[in-house]
Amino acid sequence: MTQMPLAKALNESLRKALENDPKVLIMGEDVGRLGGVFRITDGLHKDFGEDRVIDTPLAESGIVGTAVGLALRGYRPVVEIQFDGFVFPAYDQIVTQLAKMHARALGKIKLPVVIRIPYGGGIGAVEHHSESPEALFAHVAGLKVVSPSNANDAYWMLQQAIECDDPVIFFEPKRRYWDKGEVDTTAVPGDLHKAVVVQEGTDLTLVAYGPMVKVCREAAAAAAKEGRSLEVVDLRSMSPIDFDTVQASTEKTGRLVVVHEAPVFYGAGAEIAARITERSFYHLEAPVLRVGGFHAPYPPARLEEEYLPGLDRVLDAVDRALAF
């Protein structure tokens, strides 16, 4: 058990992967000498060399497209996209090639490629540096989409993503990079796609993932002071989604609020609301409510504090759900 920031846990996880499997490669812009703009690959270029920690040309489609080719050759590329807003030049290679090639080959080839994407807002950045595009990947069959909310999950989920024989889009909650947490490098981790109840409660279930888990735990704490018992589920995986865990919690509390930074419209909350309502129709005391981004471009930094769903907006939704 050691305390470390989420960013450091990712760095340690990558180091371990490079040590464990000579086929693991790290690719991306500035991942080499610089160690990435967030230093997630810090020191790896020095210790593993430029053959395994590869500074690439400035071309995301090229990065993912060559990663596909390297995977076909037997490598396990771990690609870094510098910021959420810069994954789109690679979207075609991800959606039409990486996601579909295993099926195209009727299973005869595998594409073990991990695409790491620092995502979400809250760091006061300029345009394209604060987005949450996870739904745009979760809707696409052939991809798996996950996001850790804490250091220990960051360490283990990245290991598991790299070991997975399917392409995994690994969303890193960039505004939590500096949050410290216990990391147990000896533990046996659970299923990569299993949701976890991180806070037991009886009155209402909050489901979140990545950066919003912390907000939801704070909301649960605040609600507790008002005598309300909120259960918090860390979804961890947006594709597949562990509906069983969400369903069990919802049927226990009778109420569900889904929280994410991404715009609500066509977002993960919609999928969870639709499916849980279908599964637990007679258990719901209130409609599943969603808290998330608005249907507008991510605002300039000076507005993000108001834009990002925080404690108050979560509690407001909780009030509305309990009022039913």
């Binding site: 071309a59 060559t66 390297l70 597949p240």
Partner: protein, 384 residues
């Protein structure tokens, strides 16, 4: 691999090309079947090898013709004919070594033939029973790629891996004149150059991208694109199987020997429609086609074989027999190709499984079963 050091390792050939400007087509066999020499590229084949190339082209063309017929008969949903591009494909395919790796478009039936890929494998996606489905590693022949240009990056990445492994094999990526406009192809050039990857970019310029002539893609010959990325480009007569073989061999050797990528533009012509759904009469003149008919790659080699007395009647007769046998095998094979089981919808979306796919598979199976129970057939023609 260090970029600096590799960047230094530029070949004279590359340099020559870069200084050379437009050198015209590399040609070793004229349309009239005359054997000619070229300053930079030469070839010396045995009569048997020459007959082999002829046989490859004839059988490939016959296979292609059979596929067109099968499409007309409704056995295939679509076919992309290679008619006219036999020399470009056989010549380049025969230049590859067993341990080289090929990344095709959707039209490389002749290259597949040289890689010993069962022709029936190619027909599955055109019949609509799968989207490819063969094992690329069996013949080092990747699946057909439909999204224009994408495979050039896969080939480059694969070649980067070959270099990492210290192997001395090479990779060849096929693409078309239209594809040369795609950003992915330019990015492949960049990655290949920067990492000095052992990959040959083989552009079959058949002068048409569906209805668009090449000048809608570039106002200079495509082979010239390579120089500005730091590797040599060469244009070869794509209807001259000897020149294509010689140039592709040199390009692959260039890659294998650590000198990095090379671009080969095979100047050829799409004699048929883009695909069986296309109607070229809407956009191009018959004269053009006729002019190119006189440059036919097969007739050209046959003229040479005959003039040089390198093949007798028995040889040609034997190929006819082989052609008929191949055609029959393809015909029967396609007709007997089983439709996939409906539950195949849920297979191979993932290698390690996905909970939702399992759930949907179970629900759909239950749904389908409900029909049998009720004894009523599913409403076909309308879908489920």
């Amino acid at each position: 691999m260090s970029v600096k050091s590799t960047a230094a390792r530029r070949t004279p050939r590359g340099g020559a090309k870069r200084r050379g400007g437009e050198p015209g087509l590399v040609q070793l066999l004229t349309p009239e079947g005359e054997r000619v020499e070229h300053s930079e590229y030469s070839i010396d084949l045995t009569p048997e090898e020459l007959r082999g190339l002829y046989r490859d082209m004839v059988l490939t063309r016959r296979f292609d013709a059979e596929a067109i017929t099968l499409q007309r008969q409704g056995e295939l949903g679509l076919w992309a004919s290679l008619l006219g591009q036999e020399a470009a494909q056989i010549g380049s395919g025969r230049a590859t070594r067993a341990d080289d790796y090929v990344f095709p478009t959707y039209r490389e039936h002749g290259v597949a033939w040289t890689r010993d890929v069962d022709p029936l494998n190619l027909l599955g996606m055109f019949r609509g029973v799968n989207n490819g489905g063969w094992d690329p590693n069996e013949n080092n022949f990747h699946l057909y790629t439909i999204v224009i240009g994408s495979q050039t990056l896969h080939a480059t990445g694969y070649a980067m891996g070959v270099a990492k492994d210290g192997a001395d094999s090479a990779v060849i990526a096929y693409f078309g004149d239209g594809a040369s406009s795609q950003g992915d192809v330019a990015e492949a050039f960049t990655f290949a150059a920067v990492y000095n990857a052992p990959v040959v970019f083989f552009c079959q310029n058949n002068q048409w991208a569906i209805s668009e002539p090449t000048e809608k893609q570039s106002r200079v010959p495509i082979y010239q694109r390579a120089d500005g990325f730091g590797f040599p480009g060469v244009r070869v007569d794509g209807n001259d199987v000897l020149a294509v073989l010689a140039v592709t061999r040199a390009a692959l050797e260039h890659a294998r020997s650590g000198q990095g990528p090379m671009l080969v533009e095979a100047f050829t012509y799409r004699m048929g429609a883009h695909t069986t759904t296309d109607d070229p009469t809407r956009y191009r003149a018959d004269e053009e086609r006729e002019e190119w008919a006189s440059k036919d790659p097969i007739a050209r080699l046959r003229t040479y074989l005959e003039k040089a007395g390198l093949a007798d009647e028995a040889f040609y007769a034997e190929i006819d027999v082989e052609s008929d046998a191949l055609a029959k095998r393809v015909r029967d094979g396609v007709r007997n190709m089983p439709n996939p089981d409906v539950m195949a919808i849920f297979e191979n979306a993932y290698a390690d499984g996905h909970a939702l796919v399992d759930e949907e598979r179970a629900q759909f199976a239950e749904y389908l079963a409900s029909f049998d129970d009720a004894g009523q057939p599913a409403a076909h023609g309308k879908g489920h």
